[in-house]
Structures are given as structure tokens and as C-alpha cells.
Amino acid sequence: MTAALETDEAPALRFIGVAKAFAGVQALADVDFEVRGGEVHALLGENGAGKSTLMKILFGVFKHDRGDIVIGGQKNAAVADPRDALSKGIGLVAQEPAVVPQLDVAQNIFLGQRPALSYANRRQQRAAARVLLDPFAPALKETAKVGDLGMADRQIVEIARSLARGGRIIAFDEPTSSLTPAERDGLFEIIRGLKRAGKAIIYISHRMAEIQTIADRVTVLRDGRVVASGKTSDFTPDELNNLIAGRTLAQELARGASPPGDAARDEALRVEALSNARLQEVNLTLRRGEIFGLAGLVGSGRTELVRCIFGADARTNGLIFVDGKSVDVNSPRAAMQAGIALIPEDRRGQSLVQVMTVEQNFALASPGAFSWRGIIRGRARRKEIERYIEELGIRPPRPDVLVRDLSGGNQQKVVIARWLHTGARVFLFDEPTRGIDVGAKSEIHDLLRRLAARGAAVLVISSELPELLALADRIGVMRDGRLVQEIADPSGLTEDRLMRMASGELTS
């Protein structure tokens, strides 16, 4: 019966054997994937598994090397660019919606739809927006300025925008990472409404509970391949988790954090009443030898906290102590001299200079150590980086390759080597495994544990709870620029509880 149904109804979107490689790395290999009208199809996979590459091909940002894309029964319907995608009825609701904050809701919905010099009839436009919004978001005013709206309403604007162009396929890319649970439930209602209206929905997330709630079918990607596809009800959450990770997650978790409670571990970093535009009176203490996990929604101030401690953003108030001594960290240089290291989330944008070699990137933070009166001592430097390449297992084991030719995991190791060499004792990691493939991920985890075991104080920001549980001795939760919770023993924590703490629904 179901089989008959599957063959009868042409899918709204179909990828057949789609492949894509970047600089010799197979990002997608032979991917088959289809979404039918009136279903929610979840696309699962770790960072770097190929989900975003697949979506970017769908929106014409990348061109696939091989395979075919069938849209609404039309073969070879590859999309030329994001504009073309909209006109073909494909819409995207991103983690951070692409809206113009200065314009109102109606203007945003119809942006780019009319010829540049045509007369924009405000009243007509607003009426049209109202008609679009009424079925699923009656409370959102079409005259509201988008800049004044929260993330959830901005997503609604994006949904309406693609509906306004006759959208039939709507992709949601981790739409809930910046939403509170109440907003999330609202979004799910909207998605169900879209489903009833026959739209094909692609839903990307790695939150298992959400997948179970909203998705009719799932497809799991790993290392650019489809490893499983089927009805959601055919899989248990554990099975999906294992499929996503390619290993038994329980094993990883069992290895767990380093044994807690080594008597009286010394304080390495303490911040008191740290405040700036995005932070409010954050108090935090990191101890030597521990890994402190930092959880929170996107935009809760986690990144801002570590940037402020590192002196990358200004602080308006508060004190920073390293080894019990007050230090005036007003620039990254000062932080570095105080023994603090920041490993930002965006390796490409904030950690590494792509046009420089592994060795040069390694030496960037310690120029004095490898030079004599400003002239580089090449041999001494080469020796030192080779030691780190060996110790951290950087591959390929060559100091002279450009850092952009390394995989994400190996790039991250180069950054870690850089900071190890500066003699840093406090390491602040912002999403250290984002965009890193599965194998390298556990290597980075091992490295963090080794750092702590050697007596460094390690802070890890992560949006993946399993990662935090696997690593952290303690977990802190941030919300609206404050550190609202500290959990001394995170072993009993569930994703749902943590989410509720992060959104403020649960306060103890």
C-alpha cells in the first residue's frame, strides 16, 4: 500500500546520485534524496556531513559535479542562483533569517519581486501580505518594522516571502537554535500547517527530540553519503544518533569527563561582574585541570563572553584574574601575555590566515620566540612546528603546506599548537568541533582532555549537548548575556532540561 503510494506520487524534489567535490575532498558522493509534497523530511548529520553542501546546491550557490536534480517532475532542474531558486518555488528559512531590518514586514515579504522602478503601492502590498500571513501567523502585523521583531517572527517573514512566490519546497536550516521552546512549538504549528497545505518541507536539525516530533521521514548523511533513509517511526533516537555519528555514542559518553573532584584544584581564571553591551555581570571561575562546558542558545552571549575575557571585545565593567592576580586584559595581546588563549568558532574567518603555511600560522602568536631582531630564525621554528605536528598528529605532516589545504580537524590542531606554544594556561574554545568530520572530532576531544590533564583550564562552548556531556566536568548555562546556571555534576542532564534552562523556562 505504502509502496504503491510512493511510486504514484511524484516527489516535489528529487536528488539522484548527486556528487560534489571541493579541492579533492568528496563533500557529497552519490546522494539520493527526495521530498514529497505534504511531508516533513528531516536531513540529519554531523557538521561537515554534507547537509549544508546539499542545501547550497539546492539553492544554486554551488553547482553539483554529477547527478540530477528533479524539481516538480522536471529533470535537470538545477538552480542557477538563489534568485532562480525563489522563482522555482524553493524557499529557505535560515538560522539567522536574511531580512532587511529597516523595512517593514510587508516590504520584506515582497522584496525583489517587482521591477526596480515600478510604483510600490504600499496599501496593496500590505493587504497582500495580510492575506499571506493570516492562515499561519495572524498575530504578526504586516506594518511592523522587522528590526523590532524577534528571531521567530523573522523566520515567519522568510516563510511568507517564499510563499509569496508560490513556494512549494521550503527548507528549514536549524531553525530552532535561537528559539525558546515556546517559540519552537509555535514554529512547529506553522510547519504542520504548511504540510497540510501540501508543501514539501526539508528540516535540518540535530536535535533528536525535534526530529521525533515533527519529521515524517528522515535521511541521515555521513561523510557525504546517505547512510540511512526511511520513516521516522522506523528508527529509535539511539539508532539515529549512532547512524549520525558512525559509532556508538554510548562508548564515547562512557569514556566521559576526566574524574571530577581531584581535591582542591587551583583557580586559574576568575572573572567578576564582567559586563559590556552584550554581557551582564558574569561571574565565573575556571580551575586548573577542569573542562568547563558553556551551553546556551545562539545569541545568548557565550561567544561574547569568551571574546570579552580574551580582550577581543571591550568590557565596560568587571575584573579578570589569572592565577589569583588581577590582569588588565584590554586587547588580545594583553590576554595572550596573561596566558589566555581563544580558539574562535570560525577558523577560516578568525583563526587562520589561509594564504600562509602551517608553520607561519603556527608562529603567528609567538613572533618573538622565533626571531632575532625581527629576522625569522627559520631552522629553530621548523624544528618546533615539527615537534607539534608529531605530537598532535597533524596531517599531512608537513610544515610548508598552505593551511587552507588541510582538513578542518587538522586546521584546528594547528590553531591549538599555536596556543600551546605561547604557554597559555587558560584555553577558551568556541565550538571547537564545528565543521570537523567525525573521526577528527574525537581526536579534538582527546586533545582537550589532554590539555586539562596537563593542568590547563579549559572552557568549551558547544551547541551539542552530547559533546558537552562527553567533555565537561561542570556546565554553565547562559541566557541574555548572563550566566544563569552552573551545574556541578552534569551527568544526569538531558537535552530537554538544558534547553529549558537556556530559554528560561526552568530555573533550577
Partner: protein, 330 residues
């Protein structure tokens, strides 16, 4: 199991390295294309007019290109940090006027103060850009006008004649038969090459241009690096001004007008990327020779000088286009 994964990872890594090698070869072709372009230009003009390849004319080309080459070396360092210095021509004017006015008092006083004026102009640019975070384009466009104004105000717009003989023979004479402007340009380009290749500052210039935020978060003193390159650009503009004055035997307040495009052109033709992080002072030397050779050849072919403006602009835009296109492939 772990071993297997390591082996796999290593294999993947080596795959990347091979690709990188291919990319490097591609880069090499890109760089060689600069030289090949220069050679092609040489052959075309030689075919069109035999005068072009006469030794005397070739020396002329080198002489004519040397002033631009000196400025282009400074420009290259600025461009490598993803910056731009539009004020170089005006610094040529103001520093050469000040130097020329002091030459009759004392030769070295003139040279010293002239260099100091160039340095000061560059420092002002650098401080405004690095410390006050103003856009480089606007700062140097403004200071281009300011410095030119100073050059005109200084003598009320009048040129200074009667330039000291020793000064002329130092900056526009010959040493063992080799013209000193050419030697100066060579020495400066070589020094800048060594700076980029073998010093911490050189590496930090690449880092700031390649990824300013990463450099800053690695503790690099980004402001100091930026101020340094504009200061160097200012000093080298002053040196170029000396050569200009020594060659024509007079200092004119409008001297150096329009030099910025020539210098940017030489830098880009020589492989510097306006997107930052890439550049080679020795390449810029070849870039300056290419532009100089083109102008010389067009003059020999009796192409009206007005058309040379058009040709220069076209070549510079083509060079930037080539950079843009090859960049996209990566």
C-alpha cells in the same frame, strides 16, 4: 582501527597536498605570466619599431620606470595589507619641494628633511587608518589633496630651479656606467623582498592582509603593522621624489601628479592582490618595467600621449581582472 583511520586521513591529506601542488603550479604559471606578459610586450614593440630594442632605449625604459618602481614597492606592501595609498604622488610633490628648498643650505639636510616629510605624511595616513579606523581609500584620497596643497602653498606654486649638482649626480647619475635610479630601485625592491620573506614584520604584513581578524586574535599588533607600511610608502615616495627632481633638474609642486595609478598598476601587474595577503616587491619591479615599456613603445609609435592614459588605465583594470578571475578558481 585507529591506525586505519590515521592511514586514511594521511592519504586524504596527501591527496590534498597533491592538489595543493597543482594549485601551486597554477600559481607559478600565474606569476610566470607576469614575466611572459612583459616579454610579449617587448616582442610586439620590437617588431613594430626596431628602435624599441636598442640598448640605449632599453636603458631609457629602465630609467623612466625607476621612479614608479620605487613607489610601487611601497604600494605593494600597503596593498599586501589589503590597503591602498592614493597619496603617493602628492607625497612625491611635497617632499621634493621641501628637500629642494634646503639643498642650497646643506645637501644632506635637504635629503634628511625630505625623507622626514615623506615619513610624516605616511605616518599621518597610517595613524588615521589604523587608530581611527577610517577607510584607507578616503584617508589617502583626502591626504592626496592636503599634501598637494602643502606642496603648492610652500612656494606659492612656483617651481624651484638650480638643483645642487651633487644631489643630481647622486640620484640621477651613474655608478660604473649603471644609472643610479635603476640601482636605487633595484636595491629597494630587493630589500623589500627580504623584508617580506625573512622578517616577522613581513609575515605579519601577509597575515594582516590575509586575515586581519585572525592576526589580531593571534596577538599581532595590527595597528603597528598598518602604520609601518604607510610610513614605508611615504619614505619611498620621498625617495622617488628625489630621483624625479634630480632627473629634471627642478622641483615642481605638481610633481608626481597621477603617480598613484602607475604604482598601483605596477604592484597589481607584479602579482600583488588588492584582496590582500599576496604580493612580491620584485614582481612589482617587473610590473613597473612593463608599464614603462608600454608607454615608451607607444611614444615611439607616435601614439598621442592622451591615448597613453587610456592604455595605462586599461592595463591596470585588466591586471585586477586577472587577479579576480584566478582567485575565484581557488
Amino acid at each position: 582501527m585507529t591506525l586505519n583511520r590515521n592511514a586514511l586521513d594521511a592519504a586524504r591529506g596527501m591527496d590534498r597536498v597533491n592538489l595543493a601542488k597543482r594549485a601551486a603550479r597554477f600559481d607559478w604559471i600565474r606569476r610566470a605570466s607576469v614575466a611572459m606578459g612583459a616579454i610579449a610586450l617587448f616582442l610586439v614593440f620590437s617588431a613594430l619599431t626596431p628602435t624599441f630594442y636598442q640598448p640605449g632605449n632599453l636603458v631609457d625604459i629602465m630609467l623612466q620606470s625607476s621612479i614608479n618602481a620605487v613607489i610601487a614597492v611601497g604600494m605593494t606592501l600597503v596593498v599586501m595589507t589589503k590597503g591602498i595609498d592614493l597619496s603617493v604622488g602628492s607625497i612625491v610633490g611635497v617632499s621634493s619641494m621641501v628637500a629642494a628648498s634646503l639643498l642650497h643650505t646643506n645637501l644632506w639636510l635637504g635629503v634628511g628633511v625630505g625623507l622626514a616629510v615623506g615619513l610624516a605624511c605616511g605616518l599621518v595616513n597610517g595613524v588615521l587608518i589604523a587608530k581611527l579606523k577610517l577607510p584607507d581609500f578616503i584617508v589617502t584620497l583626502g591626504s592626496m589633496s592636503i599634501y598637494r596643497g602643502f606642496a603648492l602653498i610652500y612656494t606659492d606654486g612656483k617651481p624651484i630651479y638650480g638643483i645642487d649638482k651633487t644631489f643630481r649626480s647622486t640620484f640621477a647619475g651613474t655608478v660604473f656606467g649603471a644609472p643610479t635610479p635603476v640601482l636605487i630601485a633595484l636595491a629597494i625592491a630587493l630589500a623589500a623582498f627580504l623584508l617580506v620573506r625573512f622578517t616577522t614584520l613581513g609575515e605579519q604584513i601577509v597575515a594582516v592582509g590575509g586575515n586581519e581578524e585572525a592576526a589580531r586574535l593571534s596577538g599581532v599588533d595590527v595597528d603597528r603593522v598598518k602604520i609601518s607600511v604607510y610610513a614605508i610608502s611615504g619614505v619611498l615616495s620621498a625617495v622617488a621624489g628625489f630621483i624625479l627632481v634630480a632627473r629634471i633638474g627642478a622641483a615642481e609642486p605638481i610633481g608626481g601628479n597621477g603617480f598613484e595609478l602607475q604604482a598601483i598598476g605596477a604592484a597589481v601587474i607584479g602579482g600583488a592582490s588588492l584582496f590582500g595577503g599576496e604580493g612580491n616587491p620584485l614582481g612589482s619591479l617587473i610590473g613597473a618595467l612593463t608599464l614603462g615599456g608600454m608607454r615608451n613603445g607607444l611614444t615611439l609609435l607616435n601614439v598621442p600621449s592622451f591615448w597613453q592614459y587610456v592604455a595605462t588605465g586599461v592595463v591596470v583594470i585588466l591586471a585586477v581582472l586577472a587577479d579576480q578571475v584566478t582567485r575565484k578558481r581557488r
